[in-house]
């Protein structure tokens, strides 16, 4: 475990140093993404300026929701950036490189790339949480814990979907659409959705566990919410690891010569 952690830290350090080589691009991506999120949030400011609340949600709750979603999404794509490109890595035979090294394959693939703009999302999420003014120490602790579990759900679910590439070949478009759906749905109040739509958001596209459920947990502690989050994160992580390992048995190298930069 300690060995893997040291390995991860080394990868993240290398990714950061590589990104910092192009400082202007690095800074523009981070600040650009923060501005991008801020402009998007204007929608909710205008919406609640006119309608005050929708199904029990006010602007303050949406700030908290963005605080959780943006932070966990940002942490996920920055620390495990290849989770957005895993289907292509599999389909193009680029797993060969990772398979030839004495390190856990999935961990190595996912962490060998950092998406710089994720730092912008992460920072924006923290700022959004600060604006929501939930400064009690236990609230902050729940926020950190909620973000960690939401990040696990995000990474595990995308790994699961992208691993479909082992069976169906080109799963990149499907993964992109599913990832868009996951993020889009997670940014809306869960109370808007009823019946089967709500069921989908807790199962097939588990957006509720990236947004509404951890946000609810941050707002108010409850054993039921905590249990929901832990079970969801544990189940998805197990499924993702199982799918990737099963898929790996089907993996066939294209014997393509790859240069890993």
């Amino acid at each position: 475990m300690k060995r893997e952690l040291t390995f991860l830290l080394a990868l993240w350090k290398a990714n950061l140093l590589a990104a910092m080589e192009y400082r202007v691009t690095f800074i523009s991506q981070v600040i650009g993404m923060m501005l991008n999120n801020a402009v998007y949030f204007i929608f909710w400011i205008i919406f609640f300026d006119r309608f005050q609340q929708v199904r029990g949600w006010t602007l303050s709750e949406v700030f908290l929701l963005f605080g959780v979603v943006a932070t966990s999404f940002g942490a996920g794509v920055y620390l495990f950036g290849n989770v957005m490109d895993l289907a292509n890595v599999i389909a193009n035979g680029r797993l060969d490189y990772y398979l030839s090294l004495p390190r856990p394959v999935l961990l190595h693939v996912l962490a060998s790339r950092s998406i710089t703009s994720g730092l912008g999302d992460f920072t924006y999420g923290v700022l959004s949480f600060i604006v929501a003014r939930q400064f009690a120490p236990d609230t902050i602790a729940r926020y950190v814990f909620g973000v960690i579990l939401a990040t696990i759900v995000f990474i595990a679910f995308l790994t699961l979907v992208q691993s479909l590439a082992f069976w169906i070949g080109n799963a990149a478009m499907l993964s992109q659409q599913v990832s868009n759906a996951l993020v889009t749905f997670s940014l809306y109040p869960i109370t808007l959705f009823e019946g089967s739509a709500r069921l989908v958001l807790f199962t097939l596209i588990p957006a509720a566990f990236i947004g509404a459920v951890p946000a609810e947990f941050v707002r108010e502690f409850s054993w039921a919410t905590l249990a929901q989050m832990i079970v969801a994160a544990g189940a998805l992580l197990t499924l993702a690891l199982f799918a990737f390992r099963r898929g790996l048995r089907r993996y066939e190298s294209g014997s393509a010569i790859q240069v890993q930069l």
């Binding site: 192009y22 202007v24 691009t25 523009s28 991506q29 600040i31 650009g32 993404m33 501005l35 991008n36 402009v39 998007y40 204007i42 929608f43 205008i46 919406f47 300026d49 006119r50 309608f51 609340q53 929708v54 199904r55 703009s117 478009m173 499907l174 659409q177 868009n180 759906a181 889009t184 749905f185 809306y188 808007l192 959705f193 009823e194 739509a197």
Partner: protein
């Protein structure tokens, strides 16, 4: 600037349209996003209208709001995406390959992008329209369709001028991703894609409605749900004026960019 004959650009658009239409499954998959957005909007605006207890908000009924949003989403999700294409051709030097061809570099990209957009708009309108029809019934006024189509053509030209200018920024900054994200979000908010401009506070609405973003999305989508000739004429005038101004700025930016071009190798 040699614009040449219009036919060759139409031929490029036609070729691209045929290329895109050869992959209907790919186009259908790309339409999943509009289905998602419309499903969310149906829930959001249904809940909002119910909570307000009103049949009309700022002059729009629930049905008009949903059809407006469907058209706005269709315009944005189908529109030509020039910034990435142009910035990539500047970064990898392939701009040099196109410069010595018997067509204008910008108009070539406009034509290709329009071919792509035309194929996408059909699928997006069908997919989004189906969801909205199921949620709130048929569109308020079918006469809005031909008027909106004309306005969408001009709207795309306005948008293309702005995104092409972002792409050309690669001559100076190399990476234009951040500009692209922020521009896309300006379109979402100031163009009225996520919320109709009619719902904006009074003091802000007047300013936002005069910006090019409104002429590239809100205008055509609003015309689609409330078609009348006076609205059409006002919209057209605004679009032509913005188009003239933006096309001039784009031409100047292109000329300046070309002077900075340095190609290494062959």
């Amino acid at each position: 600037m040699n614009f040449g004959r219009l036919e060759k650009y139409l031929a490029i658009t036609r070729t691209q349209l045929i290329n895109s239409a050869a992959y209907p499954l790919d186009l259908a998959t790309r339409s999943i996003m509009i289905v998602l957005f419309m499903a969310i909007f149906a829930q959001l605006w249904n809940a909002t209208f119910r909570a307000m207890g009103q049949t009309t908000i700022a002059g729009l009924t629930l049905s008009e709001t949903m059809w407006y949003l469907m058209m706005a989403e269709t315009i944005v999700l189908s529109k030509p995406r020039l910034s990435h294409t142009i910035s990539e051709s500047v970064k990898d030097g392939s701009v040099a390959y196109l410069l010595n061809k018997p067509y204008n570099f910008l108009l070539y990209h406009f034509s290709v992008a329009f071919g792509d957009g035309l194929s996408r708009i059909v699928f997006n309108a069908l997919a989004g329209g189906t969801i909205v029809w199921l949620a709130v019934g048929p569109p308020p006024d079918a006469r809005g369709i031909p008027l909106a189509l004309i306005a969408i053509g001009l709207a795309w030209l306005i948008d293309s001028c702005m995104t092409a200018a972002i792409g050309l920024a690669a001559f100076v900054t190399e990476d234009v991703a951040a500009f692209d994200w922020i521009y896309a979000k300006f379109v979402l908010i100031l163009g009225g894609v996520l919320i109709p401009l009619d719902f904006f506070p009074d003091w802000l609405r007047g300013i936002v409605q005069s910006l090019p973003f409104a002429y590239s999305v809100y205008g055509p989508a609003r015309l689609f749900v409330s078609p009348d000739l006076a609205r059409f004429a006002t919209l057209l005038l605004g679009q032509v004026l913005w188009l003239a101004a933006l096309a001039t700025l784009l031409t100047l930016a292109y000329r300046r960019g070309i002077t900075r071009l340095a190609i290494n190798g062959g």
